[in-house]
């Protein structure tokens, strides 16, 4: 089985978020980047397929040279090879078209993407990728088994789970549940050393256009000041809620 894991290079969850250029661009200054958490669950599941079923795992990212450390980390965790599509990931449709080209050229049986990347939370890429590659698609995937050409995927649905029987080629939008946090792998020294020798191929982007364009980003309004009311002064609390906050 040939698996392609799509890896998004995103700011660490603890990063301070700021925008530049008139609030149209994310400010990367001082920001640490990591493998998108949803993709890391997928990559870890792919490692399981590699170890238990002899799958071959390629990781792919659409991005500039600054994303290579993230791909190297994926190689150190155990992916066999990496591909970087040398283009700025400007919108979901553009990324999906680039990934579709890589997927078609490589003839993968299973494509594991994350349900969404935690930077812009677009959540569009896996669905578009499935359409563009004419593959089956399971989103919000929290469990995956593959036997021959058949796949059993578990999906998170509102308040429960759905188990789906489908076949390869398949694209999933994965998330936590594919594996648990405690299963995530820390690259070990052997992995880091082996990653040095693994192939990281840079391919030029396919001719594709954007379908959307971000015109402005806004941060949530800062939290207001807190007024503390003593527990034995309920009248004041009621009066404040009524007259100032106007919620009762």
């Amino acid at each position: 089985m040939k698996i392609l894991v799509c890896i998004s290079h995103v700011p660490d969850t603890t990063s301070k978020i700021n925008f530049t250029e008139g609030d149209t661009k994310f400010d990367t200054n001082g920001v640490q980047f990591v493998i998108n958490p949803n993709d890391e669950f997928g990559l870890t599941r792919a490692m399981w397929f590699k170890e238990k079923q002899g799958a071959n795992v390629t990781v792919v990212n659409v991005g500039g040279p600054e994303t290579e450390p993230t791909l190297r980390k994926a190689l150190a965790i155990g992916a066999d090879e990496a591909i970087r599509v040398n283009a700025e990931a400007t919108d979901g449709a553009f990324v999906a078209k680039q990934l579709a080209k890589v997927a078609q050229d490589g003839g993968y049986d299973l494509i594991i993407a994350g349900r969404e990347s935690i930077d812009y939370n677009g959540g569009m890429v896996p669905g578009m990728l499935a359409t563009l590659t004419d593959a089956n698609f399971v989103n919000t995937c929290i469990g995956l088994e593959v036997e021959g050409n058949e796949a059993t995927a578990v999906r998170e649905i509102d308040g429960g789970k759905e188990t789906i029987q489908t076949s390869l080629p398949l694209v999933i939008g994965g998330q936590k549940g594919l594996v648990e946090e405690s299963d995530l792998r820390i690259p070990n020294m052997r992995g880091i050393m082996m990653a040095r020798k693994k192939q990281l191929t840079i391919v030029e982007p396919a001719d594709a256009s954007n379908e959307t364009k971000a015109v402005k980003f806004e941060k949530p309004a800062p939290k207001g000041a807190v007024k503390l009311v003593s527990p034995d002064n309920l009248d004041e609390l009621v009066s404040l809620l009524h007259n100032e906050a106007k919620v009762i």
């Binding site: 001082g30 980390k73 820390i186 690259p187 020294m189 880091i192 050393m193």
Partner: protein
């Protein structure tokens, strides 16, 4: 113990001086410490027990001889990588870092540099994987800062050496499988010998009631007519310079390690100061706490640059022992001062094991004493710049 929320400070973008591989190695060690060390270390330190369940993990992240060539089971990494691994481990606990320093610089290093090919093949791969744990016996009850005066000695008995004497304050001694022991031959010259657990007359009683490095096991090495096979002598180097070469490597690692402990104290104190409200405002908004925190980040930044530059010199084979002394001395003192100040920022909370600061603080009392005391390192710098040895 509170969850480990550590975020590493990098005020001068020192990360830009590191390669992608350095950062990969460092981040892996950081992640591992968060997952495997932080949740358990306070408990082990309180109970004065070494957490042997982490030995396998230490080996996996490359903490045992990262710069030892791959053919002997090491990772073949450079000196900066070694420093960064030590920094991250000591961010968790100086005791755990001590175990890694001893294994790497004081046991694997002399076998690699001064050992025979057979000795390298026999011991290094097992030490790198953690299957064997090692210790280093230099200090004696009556010879600490002056190891050259040691009395432990061995006599040539034809087909073996007969070793007698005692070593004190030996990290990892209670559980070590092998000991690199420094002893004098009949002419009074110092040599290294590999002594294995199980050799008759060799015992390793534990030193109890330490108030520092409680998660690291310390003990004595006692040699009562121990027959050591001749092939266990390290032939490559003799004289006091041989153990001092190992100490150079370990001290270099400590210069980085201390930064980790300081970062952890600073990060904890900064977060606490922003959250703790007194007199209706965060204590971080007061000038006195800002002075403490601002000085901490300044000193950490200076220490980072010192360690990084020393790493570059060492990688090029140009770092002198005196330069290493300066970095060890400066960075450990920087860390212990930060630990003491950070403890005060937390008020009473800084006293409990809920936070790591007081553990770091008492740990650093050992770190400022072992591998050459704070005084001795100053005297080394003094000798280097004046040409006069003031300690003899």
């Amino acid at each position: 113990m509170k969850p480990d929320l550590f975020e590493a400070p990098d005020y001068y973008n020192v990360d830009e001086l590191l390669s992608d591989e350095h950062k990969l190695v460092r981040d892996a060690a950081r992640q591992w410490v968060k997952r495997e060390v932080s949740p358990i270390i306070e408990d082990f330190a309180q109970r004065a027990e070494f957490p042997d369940q982490i030995i396998g993990g230490l080996a996996e992240i490359g903490a045992f001889g990262p710069y030892i060539p791959v053919e002997y089971g090491g990772a073949g990494l450079d000196q900066i990588s070694y420093g960064l691994i030590m920094q991250e481990i000591e961010r968790g606990d100086s005791g755990v870092r001590s175990t890694a320093s001893v294994q790497s610089s004081l046991v694997m290093y002399p076998i690699w540099k001064y050992g025979t090919e057979e000795q390298r093949k026999k011991y290094l791969p097992k030490l790198a994987s953690g299957e064997f744990m090692g210790c280093f016996g230099l200090t004696e009850p009556d010879h600490g800062s002056n190891p050259g005066g040691m009395v432990t000695n061995f006599k040539d008995k034809g087909d073996h050496y007969l070793l007698n004497g005692a070593k004190l304050w030996i990290s990892n001694a209670p559980f070590a499988d092998v000991a690199v022991v420094w002893a004098k031959d009949e002419s009074g010259r110092i040599h290294g010998l590999i002594v294995e657990r199980g050799m008759e007359g060799f015992s390793t009683p534990e030193t109890h009631n330490k108030w520092s490095l409680r998660a690291s096991a310390t003990g004595e090495l006692i040699f009562d007519n121990v027959k050591v096979p001749k092939e266990n002598l390290l032939p490559g180097k003799s004289g006091l310079g041989a153990p001092l070469g190992c100490l150079d490597s370990a001290r270099y690692g400590i210069a980085w390690g201390a930064i980790g402990a300081a970062m952890d104290c600073y990060d904890t104190a900064l977060r606490y100061a922003k959250e703790r409200i007194q007199f209706d405002k965060p204590i971080a908004a007061t000038q006195l706490q800002q002075k403490k925190l601002a000085e901490m980040i300044t000193e950490i930044t200076k220490a980072q640059l010192l360690a990084w530059r020393l790493g570059v010199l060492r990688e090029e084979g140009r770092a002198t022992s005196a330069q290493i002394s300066m970095a060890k001395r400066n960075n450990v003192e920087m860390a212990i001062k930060i630990a003491r100040e950070a403890r005060q920022v937390l008020g009473g909370m800084g006293i409990t094991g809920e936070y790591s600061i007081m553990r770091h603080m008492v740990n650093l009392e050992s770190v400022i004493t072992y591998e050459g005391t704070h005084d001795i390192h100053l005297l080394i710098t003094g000798m280097d710049i004046t040409g006069h040895a003031a300690f003899k």
